[in-house]
Amino acid sequence: MKRGFPVALAVALGLLSLYPLQATGYGIRVMLQLFMWIALAQSWNLISGLTGYVSFGHVAFFGMGAYTASILIAKAGWAWPLACLAGGVMAMVLALVIGWPCLRLKGPYFAIAMLGLNEVLRVAVSYYEGLTGGGNGLSLPTLDASVRIYYAMGLVAALVTALTYVIITSRFGLRLMTIREDELAAEAMGIDTFRYKLYAFLLSAVGPGIVGGLAARDQGYIEPISVFPLVTTITMIVMALFGGKGTIWGPVLGAVLLFTFQEMVWARFIYLHQLLFGAVIVAVVLLMPRGILGVLQQKYNLPRTI
């Protein structure tokens, strides 16, 4: 099993990189979205899964990246790859600004602060109308870059997953986990929990920032409601929870399963969408709080690198 996994992974990655060669435009669009969700769920996992600090406003970083990249592309003529990276950087800046005051406190207070973040950003967008186009949104010059964005999204998803692996197998990751296990004891044992939480938070913002920019470029148009919707945060959370928060492959598994389900089943019941997500969250919290992989990990004593 141990030797089989890297081989299977390599094969999967190989197949995925060859996919655009014979896929339809629609197919590429769908896969590209899947990569986006993997990157988002995985990033949420970095802060909420590892440290236990639930981020209810993570879509803020997605939106921040989307707007940064769009403004740079539309108003300053930047090339989209660079603009998206800038989106990631700005998302990190936002994380610093929010995290600095809010991470000093215990989990529940942090969650409260994150709940309100969306509102503020939506307000900021309309306030700086000149720059952001306000409620009318922002249009990007047309560009058919679906295939390139497919690879870009895939790359980000892979990198965030790799980052998670590196973190979980390092002492840095162990320290993050102690915050989740027992923050008081962690502090007493010399761990500057504030600093570690902040690092995790910053790292968890980059992925959504870049991916937000990519999504904006792909859509060609953004408006406040499309980049700051609560449902994006909800989806991230459900995916990571379902697959197994705090694990490496959990968010990937959750993203793949729920996204597939969404495309095939729930798309027909569009009105029940959030209700079903809500039900999944409640079910997961009550029945398998550690998610699929978490449960398997416990049952079969699997290593932490799952």
Binding site: A113, F277, G278
Partner: protein, 290 residues
């Protein structure tokens, strides 16, 4: 812009009017947190259900919205108690993450159900319009009456907590669950009642607000956040603190609308939260750290 004392007076009183409503709703949230250590992210949606109850009764039965309080509050009391018994109870002792996520899931579900039942169209209860003028001050009638009810209900809640056996039991459990158990208090029953009571308070807020704002399924979110803010201001687990916090929030909001544009006004609550969290996270009155 010249600011006259009359304007200040108007703003202060408006702030207190709005604040009394915030206090009432936040008291509910504070109760849930104080008694069960659960942060009820679904508090706003419960308020929303109260608003829809009032709307429904007004629309189909022509019932006076203020009378519908007698319907929305008991109804949501039951709903809240059932939710607690069925779901919330199971995460009361789990890590905080679990209760946050659970109530979050509940919140999403409730909002979606409302969307299915009532659609996302904006509704309103056109009942009371116009202002009541007293000297240099003018107050919207619905705000005045809402404040009146809020004051009465909140006062009633405090009397209940202070004087009745049940109220004292609730306060006992808030202070120490173990000790309360040892004193023969059925803690699970208290949890249920507290959650129901809190839901009723939220629903009451919803009914009062129904006359003043547009009703739609997602209206609750902002009240969840503001209730949390009030709890932070007043100190978690500090019930009189919720009162102070609510009034303070009302005041700050009205004052800021005087000096800042209305758009930034919406962000004021958030900035206030961040400031308070930075400066005095345990609340303005002594509260328990989470």
């Amino acid at each position: 812009m010249l600011i006259t004392p009359a304007m200040i007076g108007q703003v202060v009183i408006s702030g207190l009017l709005a604040g009394s409503l915030y206090a009432m709703v936040a008291l509910g949230l504070g109760l849930i947190f104080g008694v069960m250590r659960v942060l009820n992210v679904a508090h706003g949606p419960l308020l929303m259900l109260g608003a829809y109850t009032t709307f429904g009764l007004f629309h189909w039965l022509g019932l006076n919205p203020y009378l519908s309080l007698a319907a929305s509050m008991p109804l949501l009391f039951v709903v809240g108690a059932v939710l607690q018994w069925g779901l919330v109870r199971r995460v009361v002792d789990a890590p905080e993450l679990s209760s946050l996520l659970l109530t979050f899931g509940l919140a999403i579900g409730i909002v979606n159900l409302a969307q299915l039942a009532f659609s996302s169209d904006l509704r309103s209860v056109e009942y009371l319009t116009g202002s009541f003028v007293l000297g240099p001050f003018a107050f919207s009638k619905s705000r005045l009456i809402a404040c009146g009810f809020a004051v009465v209900i909140t006062a009633g809640a405090f009397l209940f907590l202070k004087m009745t056996r049940l109220g004292k039991a609730i306060r006992a459990v808030s202070q120490s669950r173990e000790v309360a158990q040892v004193c023969g208090i059925n803690v699970q029953r208290i949890h249920m009642i507290a959650f129901g009571f809190a839901s009723a308070l939220a629903a009451g807020g919803g009914s009062l607000v129904a006359v003043m704002v547009a009703i739609q399924p997602e209206m609750g979110g902002v009240y969840t956040f503001k209730s949390f803010l009030v709890i932070v201001l007043g100190g978690a687990g500090n019930y009189p603190g919720a009162l102070l916090g609510g009034l303070l929030l009302g005041l700050v909001e009205q004052l800021s609308s005087l000096f800042l544009t209305t758009q930034v006004n919406e962000a004021v609550a958030y900035i206030l939260l961040v400031l308070v969290l930075l400066v005095r996270p345990t609340g303005l009155l002594k509260g328990r750290a989470a």
